[in-house]
């Protein structure tokens, strides 16, 4: 694959949800490209459709509320939108992994974290349970969890918030995916922990040459982690540019407005 050819390409993605008072146009033609090894930041106000876009990639939207989906999500030449459930399962977790915002609610409370990673490795790579657990322990070490062997037998509630998000990251890495989607992976964490998790994600992304689709509404975070930014507003991508270009010469009014919210820029201040 050449560098210019996108690993993942979303074309004119339109999504309608069933609302209380009738159908809602949640996504109104989203176009987005993700190249191999790059980090694309998806920013936008709350409710602009970032999570819906991310979940649509892996076909995670439930019916209801999902009513209608059209457009294409091309991954390695096949369309994830029309792909069979069986084929899609080969992509989920294995080629494209997803990190949720709230590790506490995304981890199953009744299984050990070791088990929740191992089951995935057993399934996708046909490893035995013991080797799968060894893999999980190695991953725990890689994401900086102390005492990785012992962590295997911990239940989610026995870990701190930061540790849980590290577990989620380890889980996402477990089958060496090409693409990582992280939906606000740090918003649920303390500020100091946030910085650690960000650095960890960035490091892993570079080391493992993964493409990262990183969602946040914090532009400061983006400046640290992203190569390119896509700005989303009301179900559309309104601006897409390299991080430098976007910060220095924003084209769209909404982007300019977002930039004023960064302290030390344009005299704006941080809105709590």
């Amino acid at each position: 694959m050449t560098a210019s050819e996108p690993l993942l390409e979303i074309r004119d993605l339109k999504i309608r949800f069933q609302g209380e008072a009738g159908p809602l146009n949640i996504l109104q033609g989203v176009d987005l490209k993700l190249l191999a090894g790059e980090t694309v930041g998806l920013v936008g106000a709350s409710g602009s459709g970032k999570s819906v876009t991310a979940q649509a990639i892996l076909g995670l939207l439930k019916r209801p509320p999902l009513l209608e989906i059209s457009g294409q999500i091309l991954y390695e030449g096949s369309d994830l939108v029309t792909m069979s459930a069986g084929q899609l399962r080969q992509v989920r977790g294995r080629r494209i992994a997803y990190i949720f915002q709230e590790p506490m609610s995304a981890l199953n409370p009744v299984f050990t974290v070791g088990e929740q990673i191992a089951e995935m490795v057993v399934l996708h790579e046909g490893l035995g349970r013991r080797s799968a657990l060894n893999r999980a322990a190695d991953l725990f070490a890689e994401v900086g969890l102390p005492d990785p062997r012992r962590r295997l037998n911990n239940y989610p509630h026995e870990l701190s918030g930061g540790q849980r998000q590290r577990v989620m990251i380890a889980m996402a890495l477990s089958c060496s995916p090409q693409i990582l989607i992280a939906d606000e992976p740090t918003t649920a964490l303390d500020v100091t922990i946030q910085a650690q998790i960000l650095r960890l994600l960035k490091r892993l992304q570079v080391e493992r040459r993964m493409a990262l689709l990183f969602i946040t509404h914090d532009l400061r975070v983006m400046a640290e982690i992203a190569d390119r930014l896509a700005v989303m507003q009301a179900g559309r991508i309104v601006e897409e540019a390299g991080i430098e270009a976007l910060f220095h010469a924003p084209q769209h009014a909404y982007t300019r407005q977002l930039l004023t919210l960064i302290p030390g820029r344009g005299g704006g201040r941080v809105v709590p």
Binding site: R92, A97, A106, E119, L123
Partner: protein, 305 residues
């Protein structure tokens, strides 16, 4: 854990003391006494008095109560008034039949409720969900004393597939277990449906799918394991309902269990027997609740005893 068990067992003793006391005075409030019933209305007063003395029933009630408690502490439940055999022996003969009936009913309930509840939750508001709701509604509203005879008429008398009465092999257990288990099945299936629906909305279920797990694992491992945790508590509470239902069911099917023994005891004002039966039933109830709590803690790693 150990301290917890000790606390719960002390509580058990307290509950049993309360039950014994309550039952002792309540059954003496029921009009009629065992001597009248044994000897009949025509008997001579002298004969009645002699029997009363022999049974110790002439003593003041408080006196009888204290000596009953004393015996109880030594594990002696007294003698059955009529057969003069130890109450404990009579209960021991009947108890296994009741346990068999209740286990059978619980099995029936789970075998019906699990598939109904799961199917309903997977396709809520579909026609299968509607059908299962209707079945549950019927199951909850049909009383045992109607369902039992109906089953007998259909399967034993009309079709001749199953034996009518008494305890025996597995084929004897089927109809009583269905009679007793149906209401519980109906209740449980709605519970399982509601619980599973709630769990299916959790983010860890979406995450399980995002990991690429097949639906089979998503539902039967990740969702069901969580959905059944609250159901454990309901099953524990339902054991009390099953116990009271067993009394009626045993009467319908001539099932030689604790329930029919208790009824015989009440008809004949067999005080020690009635007290013994109720004591055993109360003990079972409290122990099952303890077991339920332990099972709950075992199923949910967030709960520590």
């Amino acid at each position: 854990m150990f301290a917890y068990l000790v606390r719960r067992l002390l509580l058990l003793l307290l509950v049993l003391f309360g039950v014994v006391t309550l039952v002792f005075f309540l059954i003496h409030l029921i009009p009629g006494d065992p001597v009248d019933i044994m000897l009949g209305d025509q008997a001579l007063a002298a004969d009645k008095d002699a029997l009363r003395h022999a049974l110790g029933l002439h003593r003041p009630l408080g006196n009888q109560y204290l000596s009953y408690l004393g015996d109880l502490c030594r594990g002696d439940l007294g003698l059955s008034i009529h057969s003069r055999r130890p109450v404990l022996t009579e209960i021991g003969e009947r108890f296994p039949a009741t346990v068999e009936l209740m286990l059978g009913a619980m099995l029936v309930a789970l075998l019906m409720a699990l598939p109904l509840g799961i199917i309903s939750a997977l396709k809520p508001y579909g026609w299968l969900d509607g059908a299962s709701m209707l079945i549950s509604f019927l199951g909850i509203s049909i009383p045992n004393f109607w369902l039992g005879p109906m089953l007998i008429i259909l399967f034993s008398i009309q079709l001749g597939w199953l034996p009518v009465n008494e305890r025996g092999g597995l084929e004897h257990l089927i109809l009583p277990a269905i009679t007793l288990g149906t209401a519980m099945a109906a209740m449980l299936s709605r519970m399982i449906r509601a619980s599973l629906l709630e769990v299916l909305d959790e983010e860890y279920i979406t995450n399980a799918r995002a990991k690429g797990l097949p639906e089979r694992l998503v539902i039967f491992k990740h969702a069901l394991r969580n959905a059944l945790i609250p159901v454990i508590t309901i099953i524990g509470l339902q054991v009390g309902v099953l116990l009271s239902g067993a009394i009626i069911t045993e009467a319908i099917f001539d099932w030689p269990g604790l329930g029919s023994l208790l009824l015989e005891g009440i008809y004949s004002r067999n005080y020690p027997l009635v007290q013994g039966c109720i004591l055993v039933i109360a003990t079972v109830y409290v122990l099952v609740n303890l077991l339920t709590d332990i099972a709950y803690a075992w199923a949910d790693p967030r709960v520590r005893l």
